[in-house]
């Protein structure tokens, strides 16, 4: 199995606080890789470093991220998206006052080209492109089973639908790696089962998934490999069943044994 993403010795500081210290991990092509850990462990920070929202440019920051063989730790978010990492957000960040369909259409931005002149003149190339954007976006809405609500405002969708719409918007950028930040947060049991199926479907389509999740049952049943972060350090990595029994992990989640 070839590696798609390789994080080497990532250290990210905010002032005196080391949010991530020397985190290294490798995500292989085609797997679902879980990233778990207690609140404040640095999972989302890791995501932000990965997607370019945080850059490793502080004095004490170290490490590098290789994606598909290219160093991306100094790239802007839109460049990272272009290279093929798409993400969702822990606190949903949809374009609330745009329609459901338009949200997905925005995701096509990075794979399309029409500029101002093309948009104003609307020649045959622009028209074909617009049509393709439209069709592809509708397909994705079908894929997440939301096409019956395409004209509603994104902010008026039910919570679980909003989470899925974020995934569709991310998929519209044609990512190689889909990074999901707690997609099951706030979902009920039925919605979580549907989400699990959706992620399996996405993986079957050949997209690698990096998953931050609190729902341990979901992670254990879904992920091929899991890494555990605690206070910014990676304390365990491996197959879910092995990680589950790792004493360091148990301590991080439940606290140490009483002496």
């Amino acid at each position: 199995m070839s590696s798609l993403l390789e994080a080497r010795g990532i250290t990210k500081c905010f002032g005196g606080l080391e949010a991530l210290s020397d985190v290294s991990l490798t995500i292989n092509q085609g797997e679902i890789y879980g990233l778990i850990g207690p609140n404040g462990a640095g999972k989302t920070t890791f995501f932000n470093v990965l997607t370019g929202l945080y850059k490793l440019n502080g004095k004490q920051d170290r490490g590098e991220v290789l994606f598909d063989g290219k160093a991306i730790s100094k790239s802007e978010p839109h460049q990272v998206a272009k290279l093929g990492i798409a993400r969702t957000f822990q606190n949903i960040r949809l374009f609330g006052n745009m329609s459901v369909l338009q949200n997905v259409m925005v995701g096509r931005h990075v794979r399309t080209h029409a500029g101002v002149i093309g948009a104003v003149l609307r020649g045959s190339r622009t028209r074909t492109e617009e049509k393709a954007i439209h069709e592809k976006s509708f397909q994705l809405l079908d894929y997440i089973e939301l096409s019956n609500q395409s004209e509603r405002f994104a902010k008026h969708l039910a919570y679980g639908d909003q989470r899925r719409l974020e995934i569709a918007r991310a998929l519209a950028t044609e990512p190689k790696l889909l990074a999901l930040d707690e997609p099951a947060a706030g979902m009920n049991a039925t919605e979580t089962v549907a989400l699990k199926k959706l992620m399996e479907k996405i993986r079957a389509d050949g997209i690698t998934i990096l998953l931050i999740e609190h729902d341990v049952k979901l992670v254990m049943g879904l992920c091929d490999r899991v890494a555990v972060l605690d206070y910014g350090k990676k304390i365990a990595e491996g197959f879910p069943q092995a990680v589950q029994k790792n004493p360091a992990v148990i301590e991080a989640y439940l606290g140490g044994a009483i002496a």
């Binding site: 802007e76 957000f89 338009q102 990075v110 405002f153």
Partner: protein, 359 residues
């Protein structure tokens, strides 16, 4: 109203009829205005068209991209002074109109980028303050650039600007077309109307495009837009440049129309006025913005003609200066509109839906 829309959408023939009627109305407007209110009303309509262009330009920045710009009139000033300096005895340069228009648009667009570049990380109130400062800087520069080298002629402004002429036809004097005499003001009206329609067309096309969606996405959530692969820096600069270039075109037309420009015409109040047109009409909704432009450009003038006769009728003399009453009523009207129609007089259907669903 909705029925009317659907009918036009579904039936090609009634669409043509509606377009034809609108066309006739627009063509006849200056004659109607001149017949009912005299030539001064044609002048008011001409100005209303300039304001519509400005409002549509600002709408790209404020309405689409969500970047609050309080110094928008600076681009109008840039367009106007550029025209004034390149087509007047001041430097004794006399470029033709067809060259001045694109130059004005391009240079104003460049100023848009100049303003946009340092403000890329700012939003909301902070951006508003910086843009407000930018507007004032431009005005103060124009006011003071008469020494040590006289560029703008300072507070006196630039005089004797060449009137707009299309080929050999000067719009400053009446021309006859197929036997019908077309007065100067009317000719300006048709020219402004043509350019306004061009700007409306451009904005409509942009709105419904990849670029337009990117603008709105930035307005809605900049971080998410970035992460979805939108180069927010370029797309924001593009919004500033497009909005500014419309302002530059309007400014050039203003200079050629007036024959005189001075820094006084480009104060903060003008920026606020254009912003009011956008907000009052319905931010981000092109028909709304046009309506806002028409109303705010003509209403104060209308009041000017009403206030003095009313006072004379009731009191036999003018008690309160019409100018202050005018602004008072105007301000009241704005407050009432914002209280009862917070989304604007003619908001986009989606925006209306949003208010209804939330209620």
């Amino acid at each position: 109203m909705n029925n009317f829309y659907n009918k036009i959408k579904s039936d090609k023939r009634s669409a043509w009829v509606a377009f034809a009627l609108l066309g006739i109305m627009l063509a006849a407007a200056p004659y109607l205005a001149a017949a009912t209110g005299g030539p001064s009303w044609v002048r008011i309509i001409d100005f209303a068209l300039l304001y519509i262009m400005l409002a549509l330009g600002l709408n790209i920045v404020v309405g689409f991209a969500g970047l609050l710009d309080l110094g928008y009139i600076a681009f109008y000033a840039v367009g106007a002074y550029l025209y004034a300096l390149l087509a007047s005895p001041h430097f004794n340069i006399h470029l033709p109109f067809w060259a001045l228009l694109p130059i004005g648009a391009a240079v104003a667009g460049l100023f848009g980028v100049l303003l946009g570049a340092p403000t890329l990380r700012l939003r909301g109130d902070y951006l508003a303050i910086v843009t407000l400062g930018f507007g004032e800087i431009i005005r103060i520069f124009l006011n003071n650039l008469n020494a040590p080298v006289n560029i703008t002629n300072g507070p006196q402004g630039v005089n004797g600007i060449d009137p707009i002429s299309l080929g050999s036809m000067s719009l400053a004097k009446a021309n006859s077309l197929a036997g019908i005499a077309v007065p100067s003001l009317h000719q300006y009206y048709y020219l402004f109307l043509a350019l306004t329609l061009l700007i409306i067309f451009t904005t409509l096309r942009l709105q419904d495009s990849r670029i337009g969606r990117a603008w709105v996405a930035i307005r809605e959530d900049e971080v998410a837009a970035k992460s979805m692969g939108i180069n927010t820096r370029n797309v924001k600069l593009l919004a500033f440049a497009m909005g500014a270039s419309f302002g530059g075109v309007a400014g050039g037309l203003f200079a050629g129309f007036q024959g005189f420009v001075s820094p006084e015409s480009f104060g903060l109040m003008e920026s606020v006025m254009v912003l009011c047109m956008v907000v009052l009409g319905g931010m981000g909704h092109i028909p709304g913005v046009i309506l806002g432009g028409i109303l705010l450009a003509t209403l104060p003038e209308l009041l000017r003609y009403i206030i003095v006769p009313i006072q004379q009728y009731f009191f036999g003399k003018v008690i309160v200066d019409p100018e202050s009453v005018r602004m008072l009523i105007f301000g009241l009207a704005l407050i009432v509109v914002m209280l009862y129609r917070p989304a604007g007089l003619w908001p986009s259907p989606t925006r209306k839906r949003e208010l209804v669903e939330e209620a």
